[in-house]
Symmetry: C2
Subunit: 217 residues, 2 copies
Amino acid sequence: MGDAFQVLVGGPEADWPEQLKQGQLSGRWAAADRGALRLLALGYQPEVVVGDFDSMSKAEQDDVFQQVAHVVTKTDQNQTDTELLLTTLDHLYDVERIDIYGATGGRMDQMFSNVWIFTNPKFQSLRSKVRLIDRYNEITFYEAGKHTLHKSPNMKYLGFMPLTPVTHLTLIDEKYPLQQWSGNPYSWSSNEFVGETNHFSFESGIIAVIQSRDAEI
Amino acid sequence: MGDAFQVLVGGPEADWPEQLKQGQLSGRWAAADRGALRLLALGYQPEVVVGDFDSMSKAEQDDVFQQVAHVVTKTDQNQTDTELLLTTLDHLYDVERIDIYGATGGRMDQMFSNVWIFTNPKFQSLRSKVRLIDRYNEITFYEAGKHTLHKSPNMKYLGFMPLTPVTHLTLIDEKYPLQQWSGNPYSWSSNEFVGETNHFSFESGIIAVIQSRDAEI
Protein backbone atom coordinates (compact mmCIF):
# COMPACT_ATOMS: atom_id res chain seq x y z
CA MET A 1 0.00 0.00 0.00
CA GLY A 2 1.42 3.35 -1.07
CA ASP A 3 0.52 6.80 0.18
CA ALA A 4 -2.78 8.51 -0.61
CA PHE A 5 -2.95 12.30 -0.67
CA GLN A 6 -5.52 15.00 -1.09
CA VAL A 7 -4.26 18.16 -2.71
CA LEU A 8 -5.68 21.67 -2.75
CA VAL A 9 -4.64 24.07 -5.52
CA GLY A 10 -5.81 27.61 -6.20
CA GLY A 11 -9.35 27.38 -7.64
CA PRO A 12 -12.29 29.18 -6.02
CA GLU A 13 -14.15 27.68 -3.08
CA ALA A 14 -17.46 27.99 -4.96
CA ASP A 15 -16.36 25.00 -7.10
CA TRP A 16 -15.28 22.78 -4.20
CA PRO A 17 -17.37 19.77 -3.22
CA GLU A 18 -19.53 20.39 -0.14
CA GLN A 19 -17.58 17.84 1.97
CA LEU A 20 -14.33 19.75 1.46
CA LYS A 21 -15.96 23.06 2.48
CA GLN A 22 -17.41 21.45 5.61
CA GLY A 23 -14.02 20.15 6.76
CA GLN A 24 -15.23 16.54 6.47
CA LEU A 25 -12.55 14.96 4.26
CA SER A 26 -10.25 12.80 6.34
CA GLY A 27 -6.82 11.82 5.03
CA ARG A 28 -3.41 13.35 4.32
CA TRP A 29 -3.19 16.80 2.71
CA ALA A 30 -0.86 18.85 0.56
CA ALA A 31 -1.46 22.36 -0.78
CA ALA A 32 -0.16 25.08 -3.03
CA ASP A 33 0.54 28.51 -1.58
CA ARG A 34 -2.51 30.13 0.10
CA GLY A 35 -4.24 26.76 -0.13
CA ALA A 36 -2.28 25.95 3.05
CA LEU A 37 -4.03 28.78 4.91
CA ARG A 38 -7.39 27.72 3.55
CA LEU A 39 -6.82 24.12 4.71
CA LEU A 40 -5.70 25.19 8.18
CA ALA A 41 -8.76 27.43 8.52
CA LEU A 42 -10.98 24.40 7.77
CA GLY A 43 -9.20 22.25 10.33
CA TYR A 44 -7.13 20.21 7.87
CA GLN A 45 -3.41 19.80 8.62
CA PRO A 46 -1.29 19.90 5.43
CA GLU A 47 1.90 17.81 5.43
CA VAL A 48 3.38 19.38 2.31
CA VAL A 49 3.10 22.94 1.00
CA VAL A 50 4.66 24.44 -2.14
CA GLY A 51 4.59 27.97 -3.53
CA ASP A 52 6.41 31.27 -3.74
CA PHE A 53 4.48 32.51 -0.69
CA ASP A 54 4.80 36.13 -1.73
CA SER A 55 1.07 36.67 -1.35
CA MET A 56 1.29 35.74 2.36
CA SER A 57 2.16 38.14 5.18
CA LYS A 58 5.16 37.28 7.34
CA ALA A 59 2.79 36.22 10.13
CA GLU A 60 0.86 33.94 7.77
CA GLN A 61 4.12 32.42 6.51
CA ASP A 62 5.32 31.77 10.07
CA ASP A 63 2.00 30.16 10.90
CA VAL A 64 2.14 27.83 7.87
CA PHE A 65 5.84 26.96 8.06
CA GLN A 66 5.52 26.05 11.74
CA GLN A 67 2.70 23.59 11.17
CA VAL A 68 3.81 21.89 7.95
CA ALA A 69 6.44 19.14 7.73
CA HIS A 70 7.60 19.83 4.14
CA VAL A 71 7.75 23.34 2.67
CA VAL A 72 9.05 23.64 -0.90
CA THR A 73 9.66 27.14 -2.24
CA LYS A 74 8.96 27.64 -5.92
CA THR A 75 11.91 29.14 -7.76
CA ASP A 76 11.06 28.18 -11.36
CA GLN A 77 8.17 30.35 -12.55
CA ASN A 78 7.82 28.20 -15.68
CA GLN A 79 6.32 25.52 -13.48
CA THR A 80 2.72 25.82 -12.29
CA ASP A 81 1.91 25.32 -8.60
CA THR A 82 0.10 22.09 -9.46
CA GLU A 83 3.14 20.74 -11.33
CA LEU A 84 5.47 21.54 -8.43
CA LEU A 85 3.08 19.97 -5.93
CA LEU A 86 2.83 16.74 -7.94
CA THR A 87 6.59 16.55 -8.51
CA THR A 88 7.18 17.10 -4.78
CA LEU A 89 4.74 14.38 -3.70
CA ASP A 90 6.20 11.98 -6.27
CA HIS A 91 9.68 12.69 -4.92
CA LEU A 92 8.87 12.48 -1.19
CA TYR A 93 6.45 9.56 -1.12
CA ASP A 94 5.52 6.24 -2.67
CA VAL A 95 2.33 7.74 -4.08
CA GLU A 96 -0.62 5.46 -4.74
CA ARG A 97 -3.46 7.99 -5.18
CA ILE A 98 -3.86 11.77 -5.37
CA ASP A 99 -7.22 13.54 -5.28
CA ILE A 100 -6.86 17.13 -6.49
CA TYR A 101 -9.30 19.83 -5.42
CA GLY A 102 -9.38 23.47 -6.59
CA ALA A 103 -8.23 22.54 -10.12
CA THR A 104 -11.34 24.01 -11.76
CA GLY A 105 -13.41 27.19 -11.62
CA GLY A 106 -12.12 30.71 -11.94
CA ARG A 107 -9.34 31.05 -14.53
CA MET A 108 -9.76 28.76 -17.55
CA ASP A 109 -6.07 28.94 -18.55
CA GLN A 110 -5.20 27.40 -15.18
CA MET A 111 -8.00 24.84 -15.47
CA PHE A 112 -6.70 23.72 -18.87
CA SER A 113 -3.16 23.55 -17.46
CA ASN A 114 -4.36 21.38 -14.59
CA VAL A 115 -5.83 18.91 -17.08
CA TRP A 116 -3.11 18.97 -19.77
CA ILE A 117 -0.33 18.42 -17.21
CA PHE A 118 -1.23 14.75 -17.44
CA THR A 119 -0.23 14.53 -21.09
CA ASN A 120 3.34 15.41 -20.01
CA PRO A 121 5.65 12.35 -19.96
CA LYS A 122 7.04 13.74 -16.68
CA PHE A 123 3.76 12.81 -15.00
CA GLN A 124 3.32 9.46 -16.66
CA SER A 125 3.79 7.54 -13.41
CA LEU A 126 1.12 9.65 -11.66
CA ARG A 127 -1.35 9.75 -14.56
CA SER A 128 -3.43 6.75 -13.53
CA LYS A 129 -3.30 7.64 -9.83
CA VAL A 130 -4.90 11.06 -10.00
CA ARG A 131 -8.46 12.35 -9.81
CA LEU A 132 -9.51 16.00 -10.28
CA ILE A 133 -12.59 16.49 -8.14
CA ASP A 134 -14.94 19.45 -8.01
CA ARG A 135 -18.53 20.08 -7.03
CA TYR A 136 -19.98 18.56 -10.20
CA ASN A 137 -17.17 16.53 -11.80
CA GLU A 138 -14.60 13.80 -11.31
CA ILE A 139 -11.87 13.52 -13.93
CA THR A 140 -9.49 10.57 -14.36
CA PHE A 141 -6.78 9.88 -16.95
CA TYR A 142 -6.09 6.84 -19.13
CA GLU A 143 -3.37 5.52 -21.40
CA ALA A 144 -3.96 3.18 -24.33
CA GLY A 145 -5.51 -0.17 -23.43
CA LYS A 146 -8.84 -1.61 -22.34
CA HIS A 147 -10.29 -0.04 -19.21
CA THR A 148 -13.09 -0.66 -16.73
CA LEU A 149 -15.04 2.33 -15.42
CA HIS A 150 -16.97 2.30 -12.14
CA LYS A 151 -19.90 4.67 -11.75
CA SER A 152 -19.39 7.22 -9.01
CA PRO A 153 -22.36 7.59 -6.74
CA ASN A 154 -24.05 10.98 -7.29
CA MET A 155 -22.77 11.34 -10.85
CA LYS A 156 -25.01 10.96 -13.90
CA TYR A 157 -23.08 11.74 -17.10
CA LEU A 158 -19.98 10.23 -18.63
CA GLY A 159 -17.66 12.18 -20.95
CA PHE A 160 -14.62 11.03 -22.94
CA MET A 161 -12.07 13.69 -23.78
CA PRO A 162 -9.06 12.69 -25.91
CA LEU A 163 -6.32 15.08 -24.70
CA THR A 164 -3.95 14.10 -27.49
CA PRO A 165 -4.60 12.58 -30.91
CA VAL A 166 -5.97 9.07 -30.24
CA THR A 167 -6.59 5.98 -32.33
CA HIS A 168 -9.37 3.39 -32.30
CA LEU A 169 -11.39 4.75 -29.39
CA THR A 170 -14.20 2.29 -28.73
CA LEU A 171 -16.96 2.85 -26.16
CA ILE A 172 -17.96 -0.73 -25.68
CA ASP A 173 -21.02 -0.99 -23.44
CA GLU A 174 -21.98 2.60 -22.51
CA LYS A 175 -25.41 4.08 -23.33
CA TYR A 176 -24.03 5.57 -26.57
CA PRO A 177 -21.39 3.21 -28.01
CA LEU A 178 -18.63 4.34 -30.37
CA GLN A 179 -16.62 2.20 -32.80
CA GLN A 180 -12.92 2.61 -33.54
CA TRP A 181 -12.84 6.42 -33.65
CA SER A 182 -9.51 8.10 -34.34
CA GLY A 183 -8.86 11.82 -34.27
CA ASN A 184 -7.55 14.93 -32.55
CA PRO A 185 -8.71 16.12 -29.12
CA TYR A 186 -12.47 16.24 -28.90
CA SER A 187 -15.16 16.10 -26.21
CA TRP A 188 -17.56 13.15 -26.36
CA SER A 189 -19.99 14.58 -23.83
CA SER A 190 -23.27 13.47 -22.23
CA ASN A 191 -22.78 9.72 -22.41
CA GLU A 192 -24.12 7.66 -19.49
CA PHE A 193 -23.35 4.45 -17.67
CA VAL A 194 -25.42 1.34 -18.32
CA GLY A 195 -25.35 -0.28 -14.89
CA GLU A 196 -22.50 0.28 -12.45
CA THR A 197 -19.55 -0.78 -14.62
CA ASN A 198 -18.67 -0.04 -18.25
CA HIS A 199 -15.66 -0.47 -20.51
CA PHE A 200 -13.75 1.42 -23.18
CA SER A 201 -10.56 0.94 -25.14
CA PHE A 202 -8.15 2.79 -27.42
CA GLU A 203 -4.79 2.06 -29.04
CA SER A 204 -2.75 5.24 -28.65
CA GLY A 205 -2.94 8.63 -26.96
CA ILE A 206 -4.25 9.90 -23.63
CA ILE A 207 -7.91 10.26 -22.63
CA ALA A 208 -9.60 12.07 -19.74
CA VAL A 209 -12.82 10.51 -18.51
CA ILE A 210 -15.26 12.90 -16.87
CA GLN A 211 -18.07 11.77 -14.59
CA SER A 212 -20.43 14.67 -13.94
CA ARG A 213 -23.83 15.79 -12.76
CA ASP A 214 -25.94 18.83 -13.50
CA ALA A 215 -25.23 21.99 -11.56
CA GLU A 216 -28.03 23.64 -9.64
CA ILE A 217 -28.57 26.51 -12.03
CA MET B 1 -22.41 45.29 -41.00
CA GLY B 2 -23.68 41.79 -40.20
CA ASP B 3 -25.74 40.66 -37.24
CA ALA B 4 -24.39 40.50 -33.68
CA PHE B 5 -25.92 38.04 -31.21
CA GLN B 6 -25.60 37.13 -27.60
CA VAL B 7 -26.27 33.51 -26.81
CA LEU B 8 -27.12 31.79 -23.53
CA VAL B 9 -26.45 28.06 -23.16
CA GLY B 10 -26.94 25.81 -20.14
CA GLY B 11 -24.13 26.64 -17.69
CA PRO B 12 -24.87 27.72 -14.12
CA GLU B 13 -25.69 31.33 -13.27
CA ALA B 14 -22.86 31.40 -10.69
CA ASP B 15 -20.39 31.58 -13.60
CA TRP B 16 -22.18 34.34 -15.52
CA PRO B 17 -20.69 37.84 -15.63
CA GLU B 18 -22.40 40.26 -13.23
CA GLN B 19 -23.81 42.37 -16.10
CA LEU B 20 -25.71 39.41 -17.51
CA LYS B 21 -27.19 38.57 -14.10
CA GLN B 22 -28.29 42.18 -13.65
CA GLY B 23 -30.16 42.26 -16.97
CA GLN B 24 -27.82 44.97 -18.26
CA LEU B 25 -26.60 43.50 -21.56
CA SER B 26 -28.32 45.19 -24.47
CA GLY B 27 -28.42 43.54 -27.90
CA ARG B 28 -30.08 40.62 -29.67
CA TRP B 29 -30.41 37.27 -27.90
CA ALA B 30 -30.65 33.58 -28.69
CA ALA B 31 -30.85 30.71 -26.21
CA ALA B 32 -30.83 26.96 -25.78
CA ASP B 33 -33.77 25.28 -24.05
CA ARG B 34 -34.42 26.58 -20.51
CA GLY B 35 -32.01 29.43 -21.25
CA ALA B 36 -35.03 31.05 -22.94
CA LEU B 37 -36.93 31.09 -19.63
CA ARG B 38 -33.90 32.41 -17.83
CA LEU B 39 -33.51 35.24 -20.36
CA LEU B 40 -37.19 36.18 -20.20
CA ALA B 41 -37.05 36.26 -16.40
CA LEU B 42 -34.16 38.74 -16.61
CA GLY B 43 -36.03 40.98 -19.05
CA TYR B 44 -34.14 39.89 -22.19
CA GLN B 45 -36.22 39.01 -25.26
CA PRO B 46 -34.72 36.06 -27.19
CA GLU B 47 -35.26 36.04 -30.97
CA VAL B 48 -34.14 32.44 -31.49
CA VAL B 49 -34.52 29.43 -29.22
CA VAL B 50 -33.42 25.83 -29.84
CA GLY B 51 -33.83 22.68 -27.77
CA ASP B 52 -35.89 19.59 -27.16
CA PHE B 53 -37.95 21.49 -24.56
CA ASP B 54 -38.85 18.31 -22.71
CA SER B 55 -37.70 19.82 -19.42
CA MET B 56 -40.30 22.61 -19.77
CA SER B 57 -43.93 22.38 -18.68
CA LYS B 58 -46.61 22.95 -21.32
CA ALA B 59 -47.29 26.42 -19.83
CA GLU B 60 -43.58 27.30 -19.98
CA GLN B 61 -43.39 26.11 -23.59
CA ASP B 62 -46.42 28.19 -24.57
CA ASP B 63 -44.91 31.21 -22.88
CA VAL B 64 -41.59 30.82 -24.72
CA PHE B 65 -43.01 29.89 -28.14
CA GLN B 66 -45.36 32.90 -28.06
CA GLN B 67 -42.58 35.39 -27.43
CA VAL B 68 -39.82 34.06 -29.68
CA ALA B 69 -39.65 34.59 -33.45
CA HIS B 70 -37.65 31.44 -34.31
CA VAL B 71 -38.09 28.15 -32.43
CA VAL B 72 -36.00 25.20 -33.62
CA THR B 73 -36.74 21.82 -32.09
CA LYS B 74 -33.78 19.52 -31.64
CA THR B 75 -34.29 16.11 -33.20
CA ASP B 76 -30.70 14.90 -33.51
CA GLN B 77 -29.39 14.03 -30.04
CA ASN B 78 -25.88 13.66 -31.43
CA GLN B 79 -25.74 17.43 -31.69
CA THR B 80 -25.20 19.54 -28.55
CA ASP B 81 -27.51 22.49 -27.85
CA THR B 82 -24.64 24.88 -28.52
CA GLU B 83 -23.95 23.29 -31.93
CA LEU B 84 -27.62 23.53 -32.94
CA LEU B 85 -27.82 27.12 -31.79
CA LEU B 86 -24.73 28.13 -33.77
CA THR B 87 -25.89 26.26 -36.88
CA THR B 88 -29.29 27.94 -36.62
CA LEU B 89 -27.87 31.45 -36.28
CA ASP B 90 -25.47 30.83 -39.15
CA HIS B 91 -28.40 29.66 -41.29
CA LEU B 92 -30.86 32.44 -40.41
CA TYR B 93 -28.57 35.47 -40.31
CA ASP B 94 -25.51 37.10 -41.77
CA VAL B 95 -23.63 36.64 -38.51
CA GLU B 96 -20.80 39.02 -37.67
CA ARG B 97 -20.30 38.32 -33.95
CA ILE B 98 -21.61 35.89 -31.34
CA ASP B 99 -20.93 36.26 -27.61
CA ILE B 100 -21.69 33.00 -25.81
CA TYR B 101 -22.62 32.93 -22.12
CA GLY B 102 -23.24 29.87 -19.95
CA ALA B 103 -20.61 27.81 -21.79
CA THR B 104 -18.55 27.19 -18.62
CA GLY B 105 -19.12 26.09 -15.04
CA GLY B 106 -20.99 23.01 -13.93
CA ARG B 107 -20.35 19.98 -16.15
CA MET B 108 -16.83 19.81 -17.56
CA ASP B 109 -17.77 17.48 -20.43
CA GLN B 110 -20.13 20.19 -21.70
CA MET B 111 -17.54 22.91 -21.13
CA PHE B 112 -14.96 20.99 -23.19
CA SER B 113 -17.58 20.42 -25.92
CA ASN B 114 -18.33 24.15 -26.00
CA VAL B 115 -14.66 24.87 -26.64
CA TRP B 116 -13.82 22.00 -29.00
CA ILE B 117 -16.80 22.72 -31.25
CA PHE B 118 -14.63 25.38 -32.83
CA THR B 119 -12.14 22.85 -34.13
CA ASN B 120 -14.96 21.39 -36.27
CA PRO B 121 -14.71 22.40 -39.95
CA LYS B 122 -18.50 22.92 -39.82
CA PHE B 123 -17.95 26.00 -37.66
CA GLN B 124 -14.99 27.36 -39.55
CA SER B 125 -16.90 30.42 -40.76
CA LEU B 126 -18.00 31.27 -37.19
CA ARG B 127 -14.68 30.48 -35.50
CA SER B 128 -13.25 34.00 -35.62
CA LYS B 129 -16.58 35.64 -34.78
CA VAL B 130 -17.20 33.97 -31.45
CA ARG B 131 -16.32 34.79 -27.85
CA LEU B 132 -17.06 32.56 -24.84
CA ILE B 133 -17.57 34.89 -21.90
CA ASP B 134 -17.91 34.05 -18.23
CA ARG B 135 -17.33 35.80 -14.95
CA TYR B 136 -13.54 35.47 -15.07
CA ASN B 137 -12.68 34.62 -18.69
CA GLU B 138 -13.02 35.60 -22.33
CA ILE B 139 -12.07 32.96 -24.90
CA THR B 140 -11.53 33.61 -28.62
CA PHE B 141 -10.43 31.29 -31.43
CA TYR B 142 -7.71 31.66 -34.08
CA GLU B 143 -6.59 29.97 -37.26
CA ALA B 144 -3.02 29.97 -38.56
CA GLY B 145 -1.59 33.40 -39.32
CA LYS B 146 -0.31 36.47 -37.48
CA HIS B 147 -2.79 37.99 -35.06
CA THR B 148 -3.20 41.13 -32.97
CA LEU B 149 -4.66 40.82 -29.46
CA HIS B 150 -6.33 43.70 -27.63
CA LYS B 151 -6.33 43.66 -23.85
CA SER B 152 -9.82 43.43 -22.38
CA PRO B 153 -10.44 45.88 -19.56
CA ASN B 154 -10.73 44.03 -16.22
CA MET B 155 -8.67 41.06 -17.40
CA LYS B 156 -5.10 40.41 -16.22
CA TYR B 157 -3.81 37.09 -17.59
CA LEU B 158 -3.35 35.79 -21.09
CA GLY B 159 -3.40 32.07 -21.95
CA PHE B 160 -2.72 30.28 -25.25
CA MET B 161 -4.36 26.90 -25.69
CA PRO B 162 -3.61 24.94 -28.88
CA LEU B 163 -6.83 22.93 -29.42
CA THR B 164 -5.28 20.82 -32.19
CA PRO B 165 -1.67 20.01 -32.97
CA VAL B 166 -0.06 23.34 -33.99
CA THR B 167 3.19 24.35 -35.63
CA HIS B 168 5.55 27.29 -35.06
CA LEU B 169 3.58 29.05 -32.34
CA THR B 170 5.39 32.30 -31.59
CA LEU B 171 4.38 34.70 -28.81
CA ILE B 172 6.01 37.80 -30.19
CA ASP B 173 5.74 40.66 -27.71
CA GLU B 174 3.89 39.30 -24.66
CA LYS B 175 5.42 39.31 -21.15
CA TYR B 176 6.70 35.74 -21.66
CA PRO B 177 7.67 35.25 -25.33
CA LEU B 178 7.79 31.86 -27.04
CA GLN B 179 9.70 30.90 -30.19
CA GLN B 180 8.43 28.57 -32.90
CA TRP B 181 6.84 25.97 -30.62
CA SER B 182 5.17 22.98 -32.28
CA GLY B 183 3.20 20.29 -30.48
CA ASN B 184 -0.08 18.75 -29.40
CA PRO B 185 -2.76 20.57 -27.39
CA TYR B 186 -1.30 22.27 -24.34
CA SER B 187 -2.11 25.18 -22.05
CA TRP B 188 0.36 28.05 -22.02
CA SER B 189 -1.15 29.74 -18.98
CA SER B 190 -0.45 32.87 -16.92
CA ASN B 191 1.10 35.01 -19.63
CA GLU B 192 0.30 38.75 -19.55
CA PHE B 193 -0.07 41.66 -21.94
CA VAL B 194 2.71 44.20 -22.29
CA GLY B 195 0.70 47.34 -22.96
CA GLU B 196 -2.73 47.23 -24.59
CA THR B 197 -1.90 45.32 -27.78
CA ASN B 198 0.22 42.23 -28.40
CA HIS B 199 0.82 39.81 -31.25
CA PHE B 200 1.23 36.09 -31.86
CA SER B 201 1.54 33.80 -34.88
CA PHE B 202 1.44 30.14 -35.86
CA GLU B 203 1.51 28.17 -39.10
CA SER B 204 -1.08 25.42 -38.70
CA GLY B 205 -3.79 24.32 -36.29
CA ILE B 206 -6.35 26.12 -34.13
CA ILE B 207 -5.64 28.06 -30.94
CA ALA B 208 -7.92 29.38 -28.20
CA VAL B 209 -6.77 32.58 -26.51
CA ILE B 210 -7.98 33.07 -22.96
CA GLN B 211 -8.02 36.43 -21.21
CA SER B 212 -8.74 35.95 -17.52
CA ARG B 213 -8.63 37.42 -14.06
CA ASP B 214 -8.41 35.87 -10.60
CA ALA B 215 -11.63 34.68 -9.00
CA GLU B 216 -12.57 35.97 -5.58
CA ILE B 217 -11.71 32.81 -3.65
